[in-house]
C-alpha cells in the first residue's frame, strides 16, 4: 500500500509528517537500479544536435534517471541516525525529496511534444521548490552536530550535493533542449550559437572567466592587486556557473584574508598571483596569496560543511555567484556571511566532472589554491556509486573514459 502524496503546488506546503515504514516499497525498488552516469561530452552532443527524436529520448532518459537517483538519496537519508532524521529540517528535505520522487515516478512515458511540455513543467516546479534544500540541510546538520560524526556528515553532504548537481544539470539541460528557460543556470546570452539557442554548457574561456571574477571583486577590495602571472588561451566546455563559483570563492577568500592581515595598509597589500596553464587534457588554475596561511587547527576542516552555519535566515540557496554577489550587496544578507559553504561547495562542483581542488598552505605566510578542470568533457559524472556503461554511451560516444581521474597532489 503506497501512501499517496499530496502534490506541492504554488504556495501551499504539505504538512511535514514522519515517513511511513510500509510505504517504502517504491523507493526500495528504484534504489536497486544503478544510476547511469553520463559524460559532459554526451550532454553537449545532445545540446548541440537537437532533433525532436533526441528530445524525446532525452526526456525519457531524464524521466527514468531522476527517480533512480532520488531513490538512492532517500535511502541514504533513511540510513541516517534516527535522531538526525527526526530533525525538522532534515524531515522537510526528506519530504521534498519523497514528493519529487513520487511525482517523477508517476510520469508516463513521453511520446509527444505535448507530453514533453507537461514534463518540463513538472521539472520546473521541482527545481524551484528544491531551492530551499541546502539551507534546511545545512541548518539541520548543524543542529545535529552532537549526533553524527563530522566525517559521516561530510560524506553524506558530499554525496547528496553531488547527486543534486547531477539531477539539476540533467533537468536544466532538458529544459533548455525543450526551449524552456532554465530555472537557475545562467545559460549565457553572450555565447549564442548561430541558431540562437541557449545552452547549459558553454565554451568557457579561462582568461575571460578569470577577468569576470576579478572585475566583480575589484570594487570590493580596492588596493589589492590580482595579477595574472601566466596565462594561456585555453577553452573548455563546462557549466559556467560552476567554474565561476569556484574561482570566485577562492579569490574572495584570498582577498578577504589579505585585507584582514593588512588592515591599515590597504594599498601596500601583497598582490594575489594567478596562474593558468593547460595541457592536452586539463586546465589548471593556481591562486597564490600572501594572506598569512591557514593554521593547523583550521586546515583539516576546510572542506567541512557549515562550519559557520549562518543559515538561519537564509531561505533559498542556489549556489551561484549571482546570488552570492546579490547577498553581499544587500546589507541585511551580508550580515549572515560567511555561510561556510564556499569551499566545500567548490569542491563538489570541481570534482563533479572529474576535476579536483587542492589547497596547500604555508602557515603564517600564505596559501596556494589549485583547481584542475578536465578539458575534454570525457569524464563520467562522479556520482560516488558503482556505475556501469549504458546503451546511451555506446550510441553517442564510444570513446569515453570510464575511469575517474587520479590525483595531482601526492604526499
Amino acid at each position: 500500500m503506497i501512501r499517496v502524496s499530496k502534490r506541492l503546488t504554488g504556495g501551499s506546503r504539505a504538512k511535514v509528517s514522519e515517513p511511513q515504514f510500509y510505504a517504502n516499497k517504491a523507493v526500495q525498488e528504484y534504489a536497486q537500479f544503478k544510476p547511469t552516469p553520463i559524460t559532459l561530452r554526451q550532454l553537449l552532443f545532445y545540446e548541440r544536435h537537437r532533433t525532436n527524436e533526441r528530445l524525446l529520448k532525452s526526456a525519457n532518459y531524464v524521466r527514468q534517471e531522476l527517480p533512480i537517483r532520488i531513490a538512492h538519496r532517500l535511502r541514504d537519508m533513511q540510513q541516517l541516525p534516527f535522531i538526525v532524521g527526526m530533525n525538522s529540517h532534515i524531515l522537510t528535505v526528506y519530504q521534498l525529496y519523497l514528493d519529487a520522487f513520487e511525482r517523477l515516478r508517476c510520469c508516463k512515458p513521453i511520446e509527444t511534444l505535448g507530453d514533453n511540455a507537461r514534463f518540463c513543467q513538472t521539472l520546473q516546479h521541482s527545481l524551484q521548490d528544491h531551492l530551499v534544500v541546502i539551507p534546511h540541510l545545512a541548518l539541520g546538520m548543524q543542529e545535529c552536530q552532537e549526533y553524527i560524526t563530522i566525517e559521516k556528515r561530510d560524506n553524506f553532504m558530499n554525496t547528496l550535493l553531488r547527486s543534486r548537481i547531477s539531477r539539476r544539470v540533467l533537468a536544466e539541460q532538458h529544459l533548455v533542449l525543450s526551449g524552456c528557460p532554465p530555472v537557475v543556470t545562467s545559460a549565457a546570452n553572450d555565447d549564442l550559437p548561430e541558431s540562437g539557442k541557449t545552452m547549459v554548457f558553454q565554451h568557457c574561456k579561462a582568461q575571460q572567466i578569470l577577468r569576470n571574477c576579478i572585475s566583480r571583486l575589484e570594487p570590493k577590495y580596492p588596493g589589492i592587486k590580482m595579477i595574472i602571472q601566466q596565462s594561456c588561451d585555453v577553452e573548455f566546455s563546462y557549466v559556467l556557473d560552476h567554474i565561476e563559483y569556484i574561482l570566485y570563492q577562492i579569490l574572495r577568500n584570498s582577498l578577504c584574508h589579505t585585507k584582514s592581515r593588512h588592515p591599515s595598509h590597504l594599498h601596500a597589500c601583497p598582490p594575489i598571483y594567478i596562474t593558468v596553464c593547460a595541457n592536452d587534457t586539463d586546465v589548471y588554475f593556481r591562486i597564490s596569496d600572501k594572506a598569512g596561511g591557514i593554521p593547523a587547527s583550521v586546515y583539516p576542516q576546510l572542506w567541512s560543511f557549515g562550519r559557520h552555519g549562518n543559515f538561519k535566515n537564509v531561505k533559498t540557496w542556489t549556489g551561484t555567484i549571482n546570488e552570492q554577489i546579490a547577498n553581499e550587496n544587500d546589507p541585511a544578507a551580508a550580515q549572515l556571511m560567511p555561510l561556510g559553504m564556499g569551499l566545500p561547495m567548490s569542491k563538489v562542483y570541481a570534482e563533479f566532472w572529474g576535476g579536483d581542488i587542492s589547497i596547500m598552505t604555508l602557515d603564517n605566510f600564505g596559501t596556494d589554491a589549485y583547481v584542475r578542470i578536465p578539458k575534454l568533457g570525457d569524464q563520467l559524472e562522479h556520482l560516488d556509486e558503482e556505475f556501469s556503461a549504458s546503451d546511451l554511451h555506446s550510441q553517442v560516444d564510444s570513446g569515453s573514459l570510464a575511469e575517474h581521474r587520479k590525483y595531482f597532489v601526492i604526499k
Binding site: 596562474t275 593547460a278 595541457n279 593547523a296 602557515d363 603564517n364 581521474r405 597532489v409
Partner: protein
Amino acid sequence: MLRSHGVARYLTRSLTTVTKTSEKPLGQAFYDDKILTYANKPVQPVSLHQLIRFGQTPSSNQSAQYARTELPVRLARRVRAFQTLPFIVGTNPYIREIYRLYYDSFESLEPFVQMKQFDPVTYADKLKDLVERHTDNIPTLARGFLECKQYMDPHDMAIFLDEVIKARIGIRLIAEQCIVLTEQDQPQQQPRHFGIIDTKLQPSQLVQHCAEFVAELCDFNYGVSPETIVNGHVDTSFTYVPVHLEYILTELLKNSHRATVEHSRKQQLVDVPPIEVTISHSQEEIGIRIRDQGGGINEDSLAKVFDYSYTTVKKPGEDDDQLSIFNGMAQMAMQSGVGGPLAGLGYGLPLARMYAQYFGGSLTLVSMNGYGCDTFLKLKHIDQSLAEGLEI
C-alpha cells in the same frame, strides 16, 4: 657538520664498492644466538629533547652510555630483518654485502655493552669507523634490489626498505651525536650546536648553499642552469639537524633543476625559467615551498614518484647527446646524492620524504602537468616542548 661539496669529489667517486666486510661463512649465522638475544630486546627510544640534553653536559658521557647499550639492539634488529628476506634475495652480492656489514658492526660493538673499563673515546673512534663504512648502504641496497626485482613483491620490498632506512637514520643520529660530543671538550657558553643539532639553522642560507651546488652540477651537465630565487621569511632560523635538511633540499632542487632545463629545451624557450623557493615560519612549523616550471609530472608517474626504484632518468647509454667525454660522469653526478652516487636509481624522493617525516614533518608534491611542480616541505620545530614526544 656540513660537508664541502666539490663537484670534483663527485665526479671521481667510483660506483664500485669495495668489500668492507669479513669473509665469515654465511652459514655460521644460523647457530649464532647472540643476534636473536639482542634483537628480541626492546628498543629504548630517546627523545630529541634528551639527545639535546646529552649535548648540554658532554663530559658526563651520557650519549656514549646510551649508545653502547642501544646500538647493538638496533643493529641486531636490522640483521634479523635481512635474515627474513627471501633466500634468493639474500644471496645477491650487494644485499649480502650490506647484511654482512650490519652483522660485523654488531659483532664489533657488542663487546662494549658489558665492558668494565669503558672508554668513551675508544668507543667513539669505533663508531666513527663504522659510520664511514656504512656510508654507501643505500646505493648498494638499491643496486641489489634492482637486480632482485623479479624475486620480491614490491610491497614487501617497500616495507623492508622503509624500515631499514628509518632505522638507519636513527642509528646514525645516535652514533654521530655520540662522536661529536665525545670530541667536544667542554660545554660552550651559549652553545649553538648540540652535537649534530643546530639551534640556529637558517633555511635560507642552506637553500642558497644547496642551490649553488646543484646549479654547478646542472651547468656542468647541461651548459645552463636556472636561477634560484629565495623569498619569504628569509631571516628565520630554527632548530634542526642540518645534514637532514641539506639532503632533502639537494634532492628536491636537483629534480627541479633537471626538469626545468629539460622542459625548457623541449619547449625551445630562450630563457630558462627560475626556481622560486619560499620560506615560512610559524609557531608550529617551518615551511619551504619549491616552485618550478619544469613541466610537471603526469598523473600516472606522480602516483609512483615515492616508490623505490621508480625513475625517469635515462641510462647513460640511451642518451643521444654525446657532446663530451665528461657527459656520462657529469650525468651521473647530476643524478647522484649527497650520500653517494645514486645514479638515477629512483631513491631520491622516497629517501627525502623519509627524512622529512622522521621528525614529524611532511613532503607534498603538487603537479600541474605541462607547467611545473610545487613541492611543499614542512618541518616541525624541534624545540623543547615538541621534542619530548618525538622519539627516535
